[in-house]
Symmetry: C2
Subunit: 232 residues, 2 copies
DNA sequence: TGTTAGTAAGTGGTTCAACCATTCAACCTA
DNA sequence: TAGGTTGAATGGTTGAACCACTTACTAACA
């Protein structure tokens, strides 16, 4: 029997979550001023130092804005909602609702397809070789029944690297943080494992031939399969 | 003459930056343990509380991992590099090198193109009307010589909204945080202002007709123009 | 001898109390 | 009325203390 190692939540995390919830629920609206740190800390039954850590984090997430001498103000979550908020929610709240997860996966498909297109335009023959080798390694793991999630991620990241677009790669790895947890589920059924390997080969072939359109389409198809498998 | 309001840097920001630099320069490598908080604080000539704020931020950026009872450890920046790091660098260091900026813009093109494709598939006629109205507003501002950066952002965000993909939107607004600063420069030359308005109309038309392929291409073209104007 | 229980030192997490620097508004003064 | 002063509130920073946890060493026991 396997137990899930329960993540101990820091105090500041609970506080940040609580404030985030209040803001989402509309108790504090965009532009509103939060109570002063001293007062807020007392209300939460926590020390000011700890509260400040939570506020600092919320500030970094652009949920809140601190103006020295004035106070702490709520920013427009709708307008400001950005990737950090998402990742934070995932890391702190330890989970996303199904809809958001699906949307994250969908976004990832577009990003990976873009990376594949770029790779087809920019990869050198040596780099394509590297990709081929990685494919072979993955196929070995698949054949031997091992879990190949890590290598799978490596494959996708390598394609990103060949596309020579560091920011796209950064976005992609952010998505992987979220998706990786579920990827292990995807890599279990035998048929999916095989179709996965096949998909990889088709993508690499398109990149090798320098055909961006096809590379993008193959990647989309490859990931659409995974998306469907995940949500049914 | 316009003065740039100088952002006062908090102490914790300087510290975070300094540590980030040390890690990037390889003084601390992946897996290394940082000195204890007490020792590190003294070395930096700063209070432990302040140091802790910096470390908390670096932890959120996934640059560093805190293990209670053990210490603070450096994570693998290469593997972990994600969007948060990027935005943080932009916000804290107050600037990005040209190459990263270009890459961010490039990524944005792909994301916006994907959003346009989705919008063409998912937007209702009423929503397209909204888009048309926004176009008209922007054209007014262009004609009157005003700065239309905010409305321009609104236009692109609305397309994202019509695509019904919240995560893609979140990523996009993250990119806007970075790009917006430079957008104002782009919106000055008269010819660019006009071609911008024209581009918008073409995009909306493709979305109205429900043609994802064309919507994507129009959006790419529209933004490629801006990219070229920015980088020659 | 080998294992175990206990202990001490070091770590991050949290609290408390004070002081600094900035902002704003109310108030006084010329 | 215009302009300066002052004071209260805000976030920023400091220092010291204690807690909970991890680790490694040590001494006692079987």
């Amino acid at each position: 029997m396997v137990f899930k190692p329960l993540r101990k939540q820091n105090l500041y995390e609970s506080i940040a979550n609580q404030l985030l919830t209040l803001i989402r629920e509309g108790q504090f609206k965009a532009g509103d001023q939060l109570p002063g740190e001293r007062e807020l800390a007392e209300s939460l039954g926590v020390n000011r130092t700890t509260l400040r850590e939570a506020l600092r984090v919320l500030e970094l997430m652009r949920v809140v804005e601190k103006r020295p001498g004035e106070g702490v103000f709520v920013r427009d979550l709708e307008k400001e909602s950005s990737v950090e908020t998402l990742v934070f929610r995932f890391l702190v709240e330890d989970g996303l609702d199904n809809e958001t997860l699906r949307s994250a996966f969908e976004a990832m498909i577009f990003i990976e397809a873009s990376m594949a297109r770029l790779a087809a335009q920019r990869a050198t023959p040596e780099e394509v070789d590297e990709l081929q080798k990685l494919c072979a390694k993955i196929e070995d793991q698949i054949a031997s029944g091992e879990n190949f999630t890590d290598l799978d991620q490596k494959f996708h990241q390598l394609i990103g690297k060949l596309g020579k677009s560091p920011v796209l790669c950064a976005i992609d790895s952010t998505m992987w943080i979220i998706v990786k947890k579920y990827a292990r589920l995807l890599h279990r059924p035998e048929e999916r494992r095989k179709s996965c390997a096949l998909g990889h080969r088709r993508i690499v072939e398109a990149i090798a031939k320098g055909d961006p359109g096809r590379a993008g389409r193959e990647m989309e198809e490859h990931l659409q399969g995974a998306l469907k498998a995940l949500f049914f």
